[in-house]
């Protein structure tokens, strides 16, 4: 393994500033830094470390410890260098007899109230207090207890006369991942500031004053677990002592090396240092130079990696003749030849197009590329799809039509320049937590927020954040609401005409303007339909149009509708209308769900597109791949996931290779998915665990985790980040190797020896990746595509000088009601979502301690609807739609409007997708997860379906090991 050389990680003491250059002299050296920089940081830039305890370069300076005192010519006293900004011509001395004495005194005071158990302390070797004691040359502590009195301290459990020390507080072990040991706290306030400034949760405070000051989570009787803490780890990271410490460090000791890699959970794509002891992972620490996360993380990436070593992981290949049989553990050879023979046999009997693949949005770009290559070059058809079908396929279509590319337009840094943020159908604090923290920071600095969501998501109102407008629309009316916003902007003349004339097709704009100006698109005319008060909608439109840089962020609440693609176009219209495209702080930003869903789309996972979003009907593109792969590419689009299942039920689709995707749990209308899978003769599941889909599989190929392979993930900003192997695959092979083995068992002759070679093939065939290779990624850390001759350093902002398609295109967006309607039998609308601690189908997070935050899926219901049905908080309820029914427990809350209920889909025993229907987006077949007409009634136990399902699942999971 080649370790990436980690750039300098030195803590510069205070944050970087932007400003005019200022020159000063520090210890005789000339230093020039931007205006506003602290003296401490300026010294650090010159390589001079000023001792410090309360400062850290990801937090604003606080100036409480006084350890960083320096002398400045012409100023009296010894100012704190962390809080003193540089000035032109300043002359600073960081070392002198005077400051040395002061620093020693400060340290002596700290140490007098700190236990001296360094050798057995969990932070030994990784403690700033220890380092500073060394740096200032502290040799003895002279404080003595006054006559007849104890010297008060916080760390001794008992005083010398054996009485309990009232100042001592026991350790708080409540958080599953870290501990808080108050006896070691130096009250530097770094944790409190990290929770406020970096994470934005405000869970921590300093209670008491002076000697009595203590860090506390939540209110007086709260622990970390019961407080508002979301376990992001920022405070643990900030703490200079062992007070806040990862439990894994306490157990295992300090790491001996670290490797930079990328989180495998969500589309934010945070960079982490995987800190290791040999091949054992000790902890994951957010990487300060990671351009997506800038040193921050959420509970999933930071702590929830335990699934990688969970006992449920399947490490040996398994096969069975029929899904009624138990699994049989076999060798890789046997499993692969069994699979290859079956798949080829199916093609012989049912034709070339009777088999296909599902690529994984959790695997690397290189792995996804190979899986779609498998179907195109080895199976000889285009039957490939990926989970993006069920999430952002409408983004691809909608933005492609309006702007000419499906690409999100900004990088995450852009939010720092935004004045008005619109969040539509997304819940960033749960779904994209690190982006949410960055957004909240900007909101606290004064940017305005408009939330368009049926639910009162946390962003609407939380600590120090309040949305200027919340438009709680009825699920399914996105197009009507966004079009009404455009109506207000156009009829009130708030559009950016200069931008439209220069950048868009003016004739199309005229037609569009006429369309939206029609009074039937006014907020007043739509109020009954959307449930959004017209005056609120008008106010929101004015705020967005007139408020400066406007950026729109959206998620699956936009796409997962029968008019998902139309809403995406409506959003694009809105951005063009207000000139909010092509610079920092603006743009249209799809928040993508899974870690590599962007990449899986880029890599040609869709059945109509070769890598780089080029339709299979184009002969030049097919020729390019024919050249590279030596086979003819099928010119016809292949089957999408729902089509595969339909064709399976029909008997024309018989075999599926499904990598890292659990369609039985994640896709809508579970019964239909199960029927489709059951009708196939060869389902190959390639995964870490026996997931739900595997209940219907004939071949199980064990997968590897992101810690066990090399590759790249592409996040929601189009940023290509490296994934680096830190340990050998426990199952024996990285996933790209498994796909290669399968391809070769089916007669291919692939000879990749490293993912870097696959990336070379991607770059050679895909223009937007032409400039990407592993050497560039080593050098730059990450790069945003398009990266090619025109953009050798990648492209943080899209459409800067013109749209990819030339002129931006306004598209008429008429609201069309979904067929999914409430009625007497199903009077409520169900919408679905997710929560912070769990991820997607939960296969990974349910196998970590994250379950302490979410043991089960709950149904949110408005008090009014609950009362009508005689339901109380915590009651079991039956949730029924025309597709099916399930039971779960209710939580009564006014977060949802009357008439709307909400749940998550993280747990297989709830199976929210038994309820969802097979309705889908008109353009892309993206399922309409977000709107299902349902009824709710009291219940006392699982439904028949749940019981049958559980019985089938446990039967399908039996394994006979090779030895038996």
């Amino acid at each position: 393994m080649k370790d990436f050389i980690i750039p300098d990680d030195t803590d510069m003491g205070t944050p970087a500033k932007e400003g005019a250059p200022v020159s000063l002299i520090i210890d005789g050296f000339d230093v020039t830094v931007p205006e506003g920089t602290s003296v401490m940081r300026a010294a650090a830039e010159a390589g001079i470390k000023v001792p410090k305890l309360c400062a850290s370069d990801n937090l604003e300076a606080f100036g409480s410890c006084r350890l960083c005192a320096v002398e400045i010519e012409g100023r009296r006293g010894v100012p704190a260098s962390c809080t003193t900004p540089v000035a032109e011509g300043m002359v600073v001395r960081t070392q002198s007899e005077k400051v040395r004495k002061i620093r020693k005194g400060v340290m002596e005071l700290y140490i007098s109230d700190h236990p001296l158990d360094c050798l057995t302390c969990s932070a030994n070797g990784d403690c700033e207090l220890q380092d500073m004691a060394g740096a200032v040359g502290l040799r003895d502590v002279r404080y003595k207890a006054p006559e007849n009195k104890e010297l008060a301290n916080h760390f001794a459990t008992r005083n010398t006369s054996g009485e309990a020390n009232p100042e001592w507080i026991a350790k708080d072990d409540s958080n599953p991942y870290f501990t808080y040991d108050p006896s070691k706290c130096i009250v530097c306030n770094r944790c409190v500031r990290a929770c406020e400034e970096v994470q934005g949760t405000f869970a921590l405070t300093i209670s008491g004053r002076g000697f009595d000051s203590r860090v506390s989570a939540g209110a007086a009787d709260d622990s970390f677990l019961t407080s508002d803490c979301v376990s992001c780890g920022a405070c643990v990271q900030a703490c200079p002592t062992a007070t806040l410490q990862e439990k894994s460090i306490i157990e295992m000791g300090t790491p001996d090396k670290s490797v930079v890699t990328t989180c495998a959970y969500c589309g934010v794509g945070c960079s982490f240092k995987a800190e290791m002891q040999g091949d054992q992972l000790v902890r994951m620490v957010p990487y300060k130079h990671g351009k997506a996360n800038r040193g921050h993380s959420c509970v999933k990436g930071r702590f929830a990696y335990g699934y990688a070593s969970h006992k449920d992981r399947i490490l040996n290949p398994m096969i069975r003749d029929k899904i009624e049989d138990p699994w049989r553990e076999v060798s890789w050879d046997e499993a692969l030849s069994f699979a290859a023979k079956r798949m080829r046999g199916l093609q012989d009997t049912y034709g070339k197009k009777s088999i296909g693949v599902i690529t994984s949005s959790r695997c690397t770009n290189e792995e996804t590329f190979l899986v779609q290559k498998l179907t195109r070059a080895v199976f000889g058809n285009n039957n490939t799809d990926t989970c993006a079908r069920v999430c952002h396929s409408p983004t691809g279509y909608g933005l492609g039509q309006t702007f000419g590319t499906s690409a999100g337009t900004q990088d995450f840094d852009s939010v720092e320049h935004t004045d008005v943020v619109v969040v539509i159908g997304a819940n960033p604090t749960d779904g994209h937590p690190v982006f949410a923290s960055r957004l909240k920071k900007r909101l606290r600095a004064g940017a305005k927020l408009i939330v368009i969501d049926p639910r009162r998501i946390d962003l609407v109102k939380s600590a120090h954040i309040e949305a200027a407008h919340h438009l709680p629309l009825r699920p399914g009316t996105n197009v009507a609401v966004v079009t009404a916003l455009a109506h207000v902007i156009v009829t009130e003349g708030l559009m950016d005409e200069a931008f439209i004339r220069e950048r868009c097709d003016w004739d199309e704009f005229q037609t569009y303007a006429e369309f939206v100006s029609d009074p039937r698109h006014s907020p007043e005319a739509n109020e009954m339909l959307t449930g959004v008060p017209a005056s609120d909608l008008r106010a929101a439109a004015r705020t967005f149009a007139a408020g400066g840089n406007g950026a729109i962020y959206y998620g699956l609440g936009v796409t997962e509708h029968s008019q998902g693609s139309t809403t995406v176009m409506a959003i694009a219209n809105l951005a063009m209308l207000t000139g909010n495209i092509g610079r920092k702080g603006v743009g249209v930003n799809p928040l993508r769900g899974q870690n590599n869903v962007q990449g899986s789309c880029d890599m040609g996972s869709f059945p109509h597109e070769l890598p780089g979003y080029r339709h299979v009907k184009n002969p030049e593109v097919r020729d390019l791949f024919k050249e590279a792969w030596g086979v003819d590419i099928d010119p016809e689009p292949g089957l999408r996931i729902p089509n595969m299942l339909d064709a399976a039920v029909h008997g024309t689709f018989k075999g599926l290779y499904c990598q890292g995707e659990d369609i039985l749990q994640s896709d809508p209308d579970t019964k239909h998915v199960a029927a489709g899978l059951a009708a196939m003769d060869c389902v190959i599941v390639h995964d870490l665990f026996l997931n739900e889909t595997a209940n219907y599989a004939h071949v199980f190929l064990p997968g590897s985790t992101f810690l066990e392979k090399d590759g790249t993930f592409t996040n929601a900003e189009r940023r290509i980040n490296r994934v680096r192997k830190v340990m050998a695959p426990r199952n024996g092979y990285a996933d790209w190797e498994v796909t290669q083995l399968l391809a070769n068992a089916m007669g291919a002759d692939w000879t990749y020896t490293h993912p870097a070679e696959i990336m070379e093939e991607i770059a050679a065939t895909t223009p937007s990746f032409a400039g990407v290779d592993y050497a560039l990624l080593e050098e730059k850390g990450s790069v945003q595509w398009p990266c090619n001759e025109d953009h050798p350093d990648g492209t943080p902002l899209m459409h800067v000088d013109g749209f990819v398609r030339g002129k931006g295109r306004f598209i008429v967006t008429e609201y069309v009601a979904t067929d999914e309607k409430t009625g007497p039998r199903f009077p409520l609308l169900l919408t679905t979502g997710r929560i912070l601690s769990q991820y997607n189908v939960g296969a990974q997070t349910r196998r970590t301690d994250n379950v302490v935050w979410h043991e089960e899926d709950l149904l949110e219901i408005h008090p009014h609807d609950a009362e009508n049905r005689g339901l109380k908080d915590g009651d079991w309820v039956k949730l029924a739609s025309r597709s099916g029914e399930t039971t779960l427990r209710a939580t009564v809350t006014d977060r949802v409007s009357p008439g709307v209920v909400y749940t998550t889909f993280h747990h297989p025993d709830t199976q929210a997708n038994v309820i969802t229907t097979d309705y889908s987006d008109w353009a892309t077949n993206c399922p309409e997860y977000k709107v299902t007409a349902v009824q709710i009634s009291p219940s006392n136990g699982p439904t028949d379906w749940q019981e049958d399902y559980a019985a089938q699942a446990s039967k399908a999971r039996r394994i006979v090991s090779a030895a038996e």
Binding site: K353, N383, T511, F515, S562, T566, P607, H608, H615, K617, E636, P637, G638, L639, R640, N643, D646, A647, H650, T652, I811, V812, E814, V816, D819, D918, Y919, S920, W922, A923, T924, N925
Partner: protein, 68 residues
């Protein structure tokens, strides 16, 4: 694919293009279906239209008749 699902999918596409100014919705519906529907699905649609195409919007029927 169940016929009612096929009908709904086809009609949904036509419903969008019907709202678009200055185009022939049947032609656009045809283009969309050709770009995104696998041949088996198109064949099913053709067969269904040959059988009368009950429930399909006129644009979908017109599009299907134009199919090669």
């Amino acid at each position: 694919m169940a016929p009612d699902k096929m009908i709904r999918m086809g009609n949904q596409i036509a419903a969008f293009f019907r709202t678009q100014p200055g185009i022939d919705p049947a032609v656009k519906t045809l283009e969309h279906i050709t770009d995104f529907w696998e041949p088996r699905m198109r064949q099913q649609l053709r067969d269904y239209v040959a059988d009368g195409g009950a429930g399909l919007d006129p644009e979908v029927i017109a599009a299907t008749k134009m199919m090669a």
